[in-house]
Symmetry: C2
């Protein structure tokens, strides 16, 4: 038998699914058998993996009997339905959707932050929301050093958060704008070219969107810090792949910007890009297609005693989704947690 | 003699200058003589105003002897040099640059906020920074109702802040992106198409940019609130004309989001667009070419007792610059403050 596990990728034709396959190849993930699954409409699509052709099959409970681990890169409703069936079939699921993230018995994991939580999974491990992953990779080292008490975050989120269709709509809308054509938004609520839309996911409570509340709920769970005060404003911007975030944090103990720079420079998955004298700071155009979370513009927050302001950018499809899931899968395999 | 004053527009060929002329016409500003001035390189350019052709002249101290009021829409260095000479020539200057904004003897005015400060001018009245104007129009009514103590703001600033050249660069860079051509940034530090640049104006202190510190210094002066705590992150976004801002405020007295909505609905220069159930909130594409500051996404800040989060957008060239200057000029004329 060849080295590795039998791995299913569910949603293999989507933006995150395709990136997942790319990352599995890049990282030489130990696979003995690759099973590409997707919506029945995608059945028969050919996907190349390490030079071999794989035919996409319609995702169904049956398929999971042949897999050890399944990476789910599909919507919440599909995950809700299919992931428990996969677990019943003996498969360990790493789920990218919102379906199980806040379920008590499901660990919500960012490998740089809370890898220990993988150990107690009961079949499903949840991959957090993209903007949350990016934020906690940057904030956890600060939290470990000085204990976070408050986070105020405003996001600048790329269209890739809405998948391949989102990427297409930004391109189409932009071309239409130049051609003087009217556009009819399909993916987003409003035209996205040369615009900003302060509305991601649906409105849930107190006129916050679910995207904003994910930054509250998921951050608390990942950091094991249920009292952490977080407030967010989530905004869609006309950028293709990387999310950016303007974050103001308060900590129990004081930290200077220089200390934060040093702490982050020695933290896994973080690249500090913070040299104003050379116009160096994270920008979404240049953090796209990377796996790290880039942090810069580190300053004292001028409004409070122990406050730090920072600016973060990272590829939404990679670290915000696919890379994080593959990292979890690597740990699952390494420690035989499946 | 015809009704009105002799008005000079300095920088008449620039983005703000052109918009100023448009707004003067729209508002039927009482002009007996219009004097269009600009850089010597622009001399001879013909500008149409109310159906009449005006020849642009090179701005020089001499010209101001023929004017009662001068609207300066030029860079800080030109204003620094020319505005005092205009005042010496008996002209009242309304200056759009940064040159005099923080000078104690110069009022810094947003007509909806501190019109009373126009009265004590000594020749120069300063027009605030665009992002500051937009923010204080939204925040002053909250301040009057509940006393502001803290402001955390992240901006999403349009390229129009860099003038006609900025508008051109976004268009060019976007077209080049589609054509697969390399771009060399001229106006901005980095490519702006499908990107975000967390760097506006130069870096000044504590690794803050001057644009960010303007939001601190100018807000305090306009609101007559020198102790107000403000911290800002200023980011350039690929949007043409309107600036947007994500703002978290704290107040001494409590206010509910509904109270804030009511207060702002009755405030001059503000339009409340805040109906999540109908996907209604301010967006820069739709606030462009308007004079009002649009406010929405009004919510309780989840991290503090008396906190409110809001999202603001307004046309940077109009209310952020030209309209505000013309409003000041109208008050100067109405009250004979020249």
């Amino acid at each position: 038998m060849s080295r590795g596990i039998r791995l299913a990728v569910v949603g293999a034709t989507g933006a995150v699914g395709q990136e997942t396959l790319k990352i599995l190849q890049e990282r030489d993930f130990p696979i003995s058998e690759l099973i590409c699954l997707a919506d029945p409409r995608e059945e028969g699509t050919i996907i190349e993996y390490k030079g071999e052709a794989h035919t996409v099959r319609a995702a169904s409970p049956q398929q999971f009997k042949e897999a050890d681990v399944a990476l789910f890169a599909v919507g919440t409703e599909v995950s809700q339905h299919l992931a428990p069936l996969a677990v019943e079939s003996g498969c360990t699921v790493i789920d990218n959707s919102y379906a199980f993230r806040l379920v008590d018995e499901v660990p919500l994991v960012v490998p740089e932050v809370n890898p220990q939580d993988i150990a107690w999974h009961k079949g499903i491990i949840a991959n957090p929301n993209c903007s949350t992953i990016i934020m906690v990779v940057a904030l956890n080292p600060i939290h470990q050093a000085a204990h976070l008490t408050r986070v105020v975050v405003s996001t600048y989120q790329a269209v890739s958060g809405a998948g391949i269709a989102g990427l297409g709509e930004l391109e189409e809308h932009t071309r239409a704008y130049f051609d003087g054509q009217q556009v009819v938004p399909q993916v987003f609520q409003h035209p996205i070219a040369f615009n900003l839309i302060p509305h991601i996911d649906s409105f849930v409570e107190g006129d916050y969107t679910r995207e904003e509340m994910k930054l509250v709920w998921e951050t608390r769970k990942i950091l094991h810090h249920p009292e952490l005060k977080v407030t967010a404003t989530a905004v869609r911007v006309p950028v293709f792949r990387s999310h950016s975030e303007s974050i103001n944090v308060e900590t129990e103990s004081p930290l200077t910007p220089q200390q934060v720079r040093e702490i982050l420079s020695n933290s896994p998955g973080v690249i500090v890009q913070d040299d104003p004298s050379h116009n160096l700071y994270p920008m979404p155009l240049f953090t796209a297609n990377h796996d790290e979370v880039f942090v810069g513009r580190i300053r004292q927050d001028l409004t409070c005693e122990n406050g730090i302001a920072l600016w973060v950018a990272a590829d939404q499809i990679r670290k915000g989704a696919a890379t994080n899931a593959v990292q979890i899968a690597e740990m699952v395999v390494e420690h035989n947690y499946y």
